[in-house]
């Protein structure tokens, strides 16, 4: 039996593979604070969003979350739930960002807003389920600062990939890794 696939499916699969690779790379890098991560895989999400539209970006993002968690052995664990909560909320925010005027709001805006949404989704899960205690509030400023910082950096990188047009996705993956 053969499933018919379109060119778009292939593209999504390729881009998701790049995102998964970046996610894996990041999983190896030790983090000074548990939970604070650059989220470089989101560069791919942004790239896809700007280039191919929202539904492709949603596919890439979701495939990345599921596949990475399977590869890292975290499927259905709290880490996975946090990951998917962050992804869903940031996709929601990105969907709303589509209504922003393109002229003034670029990739960097989307990246920062999505990063905040991501961390908000995770903190909501942490507060409601993992650590149902008011002291979680102490973590919020640190995570928000990290989201702002990495959101900015990721946005700039995504922007560079999009508009310095030597970028096929192949060079894109190389650029991301240094």
């Amino acid at each position: 039996m053969l499933i018919k696939t379109t060119i778009e499916d292939h593209r999504i699969a390729k881009l998701a593979a790049v995102a998964i690779a970046l996610h894996m790379l990041e999983a190896v890098i030790p983090s000074p604070l548990p939970g604070v991560k650059p989220g470089i895989a989101n560069i791919v999400t942004l790239y896809v969003l700007m280039k191919y539209g929202f539904s492709s970006a949603a596919w890439v993002s979701m495939l990345r979350v599921f596949a990475s968690s399977l590869l890292l052995g975290q499927f259905l664990s709290p880490t996975f739930i946090l990951s998917i909560a962050g992804a869903i909320l940031s996709l929601g925010v990105l969907r709303l960002c589509m209504y922003l005027p393109k002229k003034h709001f670029g990739t960097v805006s989307l990246s920062i807003l999505a990063a905040f949404a991501h961390i908000a989704g995770q903190l909501i899960i942490v507060r409601l389920w993992l650590i149902p205690h008011a002291s979680v509030a102490y973590l919020v400023p640190v995570f928000a600062m990290a989201a702002l910082f990495f959101g900015l950096i990721n946005g700039v990188i995504a922007n560079k990939l999009l508009y310095n047009e030597t970028s096929t996705i192949d060079t894109a993956s190389k650029n991301n890794q240094h």
Binding site: S109, I112, L148, V156
Partner: protein, 129 residues
């Protein structure tokens, strides 16, 4: 580093600056709101899980509290509080010294007494053994 700054400059449009500025303000406000160590206004003394009493910190007073081992003394002095005398053996509670910020606590396990400082809004839900 210079290269990075150049990239940031060329990538950012006017709306992005707005988002970035709003983000910085948000982070600053979050730090200020959630990390401010607010001064306490009251001290709550507990014996086991029972509240023995809540006293204003705005006074100078020694309170003698009967614990599981015997009487302990809690001193209040203009905005701060401490265990100044306790019948317990290790005296950890006494050595903890003055407490002045909301959310701080001193616990004497052997004597089953605890102090918790309370601000205008209570940062913790509860304090349990």
């Amino acid at each position: 580093m210079r290269n990075l700054l150049h990239n940031i400059n060329s990538a950012i449009q006017i709306g992005d600056w707005c988002v970035l500025t709003a983000g910085i303000i948000l982070v600053a406000v979050l730090f200020q709101q959630l990390w401010s160590h607010q001064d306490a206004t009251r001290v709550q003394i507990r014996h086991g899980d029972r509240i023995y009493g809540t006293y204003s910190l705005n006074q100078q007073r020694d309170i003698h509290v009967q614990g599981a081992m015997g009487a302990a003394t809690v001193s209040i002095l203009h905005g701060k509080a401490r265990f100044s005398q306790s019948p317990c053996h290790n005296q950890y509670c006494v050595h903890q010294g003055w407490l002045s910020r909301a959310g701080q606590a001193a616990i004497c396990l052997p004597n089953q007494l605890s102090l918790e400082l309370i601000g205008e809004t209570k940062p913790y839900d509860s304090l349990n053994y």
